[in-house]
Amino acid sequence: MQLKVDNLTVLYDRAMVLNKVGLVVEEGEMVSLVGPNGAGKTTLLRAVAGLVKWEKESLKGTVGGKITLKGEVEFGRENISRLRAHEIVRRGLVLCPERGRPFREMNVRENLEVGAHLCTDKGAIEESLQKVFQLFPVLEKRQNQISGTISGGERTMLAIGRCLMAQAKFLLIDEPSVGLAPLVKEHLFDRIKDVHGMGITILLTEQDISFAFDLATRHYVLSQGQMMAQGSAEELLADEVVRQSYLGL
């Protein structure tokens, strides 16, 4: 299903985080969102997943709740900008947060089972569990371990697995490679390719430009809340201004 973001503007109090940002991801694509620290990449994903709206509502009356959120998000021709985060998941659009953020006092298996919260069919849950274990055999080995004690790479894998348990058709992955050792990074790179190969559309954010450029086919460059450029890796690298100002290459 296609994801279309139009004119998305987010202000935290008076700080402009996203300024009329738009992007389109077609079904079956793998697209990356690159840009320096503080560009608004995470906020964009959070806004699409309904978390900014949730934050605004649940922090109403506090400083953290002074959020302005404007713009439209369409998923598979349906306008989802008014939907709540838990309703968006039901449509197959799932966010995998930075550093995985497992439920730390639960074991790995329970974490995955929470991912299948919306699924009531036991057989289907077991089937997706086996699929996740096949993709990440290390999770099967660790299934009874408390997830607060697993490594950073395993956390990210667990988080992706949890999204798969939620029957994701479209995955938003926030900074998958952050803080990982080169070998783990490489492993994760291949696994994300595998997930994409399962027919799941992916939009990911990355600070590591080469990781993003090798993985995704099309890229958006975000800087200081504004969409600066888009295109294939070759196109972006050919543009001297983009290359020097935003990619730092």
Partner: protein, 290 residues
């Protein structure tokens, strides 16, 4: 004497445990410090009193009606007073104190300040090692045990339980996994108040019923929760049992102990917290910087 202490300690500890678990649940899940928790327990005792002595409803029916009624009242209080300010934790706490005071004053106005009692559900007693143990005490022990077991099964084995634990550990991610967080808050508030109601129903026939009966258990509940480790449901059960037994042992063994029991329990809590600030079973995961 030993049997007396064992039985009475289990009754007191069990009731405190049921109360503490309910308090700890709504705190852990929604970060609501509900100081009116034991006021709900008190109200239940009064509902049963009204049902049995004034309306002549059979005791069992009164118990069930009282628990249903208190759960509804609890949910209404949550919606009216807690829900809209729940992002301000201190405000919620102060509102809940006000609520408890309100209930106390209403009870004073309606029933006056004297102590009342409720007939036991199970009359009679059984001799255990030549000590008389009333059926009501046995009933209280078995019921609290079953309640705690049921709650443990709910939290560890069912999908709802996993969702509740997920929300308590990371609301935002729970939301991202399709869990309706506000709905879970409401469900947990219902469970929490129902637990307070159950405790009230079990204890009303054993202890005296009065408009001030919420204060002493509230202190013990707060102490059990920090003693066991904030946010650890299992920990607060252990904390409650320790404090329940302390009370009974002091009452039985120390001359004039009945007036000292609170002081001794609280001293134990203070000492434990000095040695282990996170409580007995507190989980201290290092907060990660995001």
């Amino acid at each position: 004497m030993v049997i007396d202490i064992l039985v009475n300690g289990l009754v007191a500890g069990g009731i405190y445990a049921v109360l503490a678990v309910g308090f700890s649940l709504i705190f852990g899940v929604a970060r609501i410090v509900n100081m009116a928790h034991t006021a709900f327990y008190m109200l239940t005792a009064y509902f049963i009193f009204v049902g049995t002595t004034m309306l002549n409803i059979p005791l069992v029916a009164s118990l069930i009606l009282a628990i249903i009624l208190i759960t509804i009242i609890g949910l209404i209080c949550f919606k009216l007073f807690f829900d809209r300010v729940k992002q301000h934790e201190t405000t919620v706490m102060i509102i809940s104190v006000a609520l408890a005071m309100l209930f106390q004053e209403i009870l004073f106005l309606v029933f006056g300040g004297h102590y009342t009692g409720i007939p036991p559900l199970a009359k009679g007693f059984v001799d255990i090692a030549s000590i008389r143990v009333s059926y009501q005490h046995i009933f209280a022990i078995v019921t609290t045990g079953l309640i705690l077991l049921g709650l443990w099964l709910l939290l560890s084995k069912t999908g709802l339980g996993k969702a509740i634990r997920a929300v308590s550990q990371d609301r935002e991610i729970a939301n991202l996994m399709g869990i309706n967080v506000n709905q879970i808050f409401l469900i947990v508030m219902g469970i929490s108040v129902a637990l307070a109601g159950l405790a009230g129903a079990v204890i009303a026939p054993i202890y005296m019923v009065s408009p001030l009966m919420w204060i002493q258990p509230l202190t013990i509940v707060l102490a059990s929760v920090v003693l066991g480790g904030l946010g650890s449901v299992g920990g607060c059960v252990v904390g409650a049992l320790i404090l329940g037994y302390t009370e009974i042992i002091v009452t039985f063994l120390v001359p004039g102990g009945a007036s000292l029991r609170g002081a001794v329990s609280m001293s134990i809590m203070v000492v434990v917290l000095l040695v282990r600030p996170e409580g007995l079973f507190g989980v201290a995961f290092e907060e990660e910087r995001l």
